[in-house]
């Protein structure tokens, strides 16, 4: 007897994703035959609001497109404005901006590791990584004054300088984080359970990654050799040395390895920035009215390529601001990755693009469920389903959780 297809809507609130958005899955048995994404719940009308506010006000608004990669959006925006105005940010300012950029990448990738662990039932990883993440949160708060939404930029440079007493603290924090990350890399490469759970899941070939326009770690894990920091350098990246982390697993395991590798590169970059930090001013004065013109700015946010377009009309308010956040590029790829996969993989595959639906602003209204079973699963149910499904296949994190907890107590 053929299995009937039935649809499961997921969303809009998921304690795991922490933000509203919806997916509609069509299933045949346990396999997904199709997925549609409906976005829109987070749409706040930011681009329109930008036209009614001054450039500085817009910088604070755009920073809040996404709280996790706030500096990414703020910098990407301000770069476009500075280009139109013909402002040359002093080198020290660029270096400090880049320092915050890499610290943001570190916090974001550690956050992701924890969320990914949570999605597959590896909760000890969440506790460990988020505990470690507090080290970089402390440094961000020390240097910028806030844990999140740093407000570090101004038009023409940065608002706060890095002081000599902060430097040893930054370096010490990086040393600690590097040591901890090495441990995670060890767990990632040596723990069979983790490897088995993530391998072959959310497959995305290099051809499809390119065709569908994937960005960031999601693309690089499929062998796509693109990174805006190297390809279209901004900030201080032109003077810094780092490797672009490429992996060919083309699955969630690969995406994990890429982010772990990028963490190690970020530590290297922070040390370089501190070592090479030039003397001098941290900003130039910016005019209130920006001359008419336009510019497009790109930035490698933790999630991938961020694109901002700004058009000015000679007044103190922009004519047009356009934001294309990385998750909007990747969310179309998720549908492809889930197709022919198992329902049990849904949470981790979605989580693996590191979705920032806030950036992409949107939620989904639920389409009506058609005939067949009318199931509605909320996210915790789906996560539990996934964890239990894999447990039946022999992939279970309870032992690893226990083992790591023992280590934690002895730390």
């Amino acid at each position: 007897m053929p299995e009937r297809e039935f649809k499961i809507p997921i969303g809009p609130q998921h304690p795991a994703l922490k933000e509203p958005e919806s997916f509609l899955l069509t299933l045949r048995g346990e396999k997904i035959t199709e997925m549609t994404v409906r976005l829109g719940y987070n749409h706040r009308g930011i681009e329109k609001a930008c036209e009614a506010r001054t450039y500085i006000q817009d910088m604070y608004l755009v920073e809040r497109v996404c709280g996790i990669c706030s500096h990414s959006h703020s910098t990407c925006f301000i770069q476009a404005v500075e280009e139109i105005a013909g402002l040359q940010v002093p080198k020290r300012g660029l270096y400090i901006r880049t320092l915050i950029a890499e610290l943001e990448r570190i916090h974001s990738h550690l956050l992701w590791l924890g969320v990914a662990g949570h999605e597959i039932g590896f909760d000890t990883l969440l506790m460990y990584t988020w505990r470690d993440r507090e080290i970089v949160m402390d440094i961000l708060a020390l240097v910028t004054g806030n844990r999140v939404n740093y407000g570090m930029n101004t038009i023409g440079g940065v608002r706060r300088d890095v002081t000599t007493d902060q430097i040893p603290k930054i370096l010490e924090a990086i040393d600690k984080l590097e040591e901890r990350t090495k441990y995670y890399i060890q767990v990632g490469t040596e723990e069979i359970t983790l490897r088995e759970r993530l391998s072959g899941v959310g497959k995305l070939s290099k051809e499809d990654a390119i065709r569908l326009g994937a960005v960031g770690p999601t693309a690089r894990a499929s062998g796509v050799n693109r990174d805006v920091r190297r390809d279209d350098p901004y900030g201080a990246y032109g003077e810094l040395t780092f490797d672009v982390i490429i992996d060919n697993h083309s699955d969630v395991y690969g995406r994990t390895l890429v982010r772990l590798g990028e963490l190690m590169q970020s530590y290297k970059l922070v040390r370089q920035i501190i070592r090479q930090l030039p003397e001098g001013p941290i900003s130039v004065k910016a005019p209130r009215r920006i001359p008419a013109g336009q510019a497009v700015s790109r930035y490698e946010a933790p999630r991938g390529e961020d694109v901002h377009f700004v058009k000015s009309n000679g007044s103190d308010k922009p004519e047009r601001v356009k934001v294309r956040a990385p998750t909007l590029a990747n969310v179309q790829v998720v549908a492809h990755m889930l197709k022919d996969g198992y329902l049990a993989d849904t949470p981790i595959v979605i989580a693996a693009i590191d979705p920032c639906f806030s950036c992409t602003d949107r939620a989904i209204s639920r389409t009506d469920i058609e005939s067949g079973r009318t199931d509605r699963m909320d996210w915790p149910e789906l996560r539990t389903y996934g964890i239990n499904w894999y447990r039946k296949q022999g992939i279970d994190f309870s032992e690893l959780n226990k083992k790591m907890r023992v280590l934690r107590e002895s730390n």
């Binding site: 922490k18 509203p20 609001a49 709280g67 505990r131 209204s365």
Partner: protein
């Protein structure tokens, strides 16, 4: 009846079950709420447990300015919660719409839609502020549930 209510309130204060809902937030408050649950801040030592469903929740923790699309769902979640229930608005956006106030598609703070019991401002609200706010709310619930003391007859 009174005794049952007291026990229920005591249980709720001692171990409130919270549900978290994002009504259009930028995620900054959301990750600080989660950070409050992790070892450094560890709100769980206060007995606070994060639940996935409104039907068992005592406290609805909301972040974000309410977008047009999310408004009905917010109301529905609130209605699904059993009494007594409390709503905490976390972050400046949840308190007043914050930096998104005036944007089309944004209704405003949480209290434009459902009654709010506690406001925790901040952009984002820090984990310490969140814990402080939740503990204060629980304390006020505790105080409200105690019988009022009879004033001393002699005024001393």
């Amino acid at each position: 009846m009174d005794l049952v209510k007291k026990i229920v309130t005591w249980a709720r204060i001692k171990s409130p079950w919270i549900i978290h809902f994002n009504t259009g937030a930028c995620n900054a408050c959301d990750i600080e709420i989660i950070a409050a649950l992790t070892p450094r801040y560890d709100i769980e030592r206060f007995g606070v447990i994060l639940k996935g469903t409104p039907r068992h929740a005592d406290v609805l923790v909301c972040s974000g300015p309410v977008t047009r699309q999310i408004k009905d769902r917010l109301i529905r979640i609130y209605e699904q919660m059993p009494e007594p229930k409390f709503v905490v608005a976390v972050g400046t956006c949840a308190c007043s719409g914050g930096v998104f106030n005036g944007c089309y598609n944004v209704e405003g703070g949480i209290d434009e839609v459902i009654p709010v019991s506690a406001y925790i401002p901040g952009c984002p609200a820090s984990p310490k502020a969140i814990i402080d706010g939740v503990v204060k709310l629980l304390a006020s619930v505790d105080a409200a549930s105690k019988p009022k003391e009879e004033p001393a007859v002699n005024g001393t």
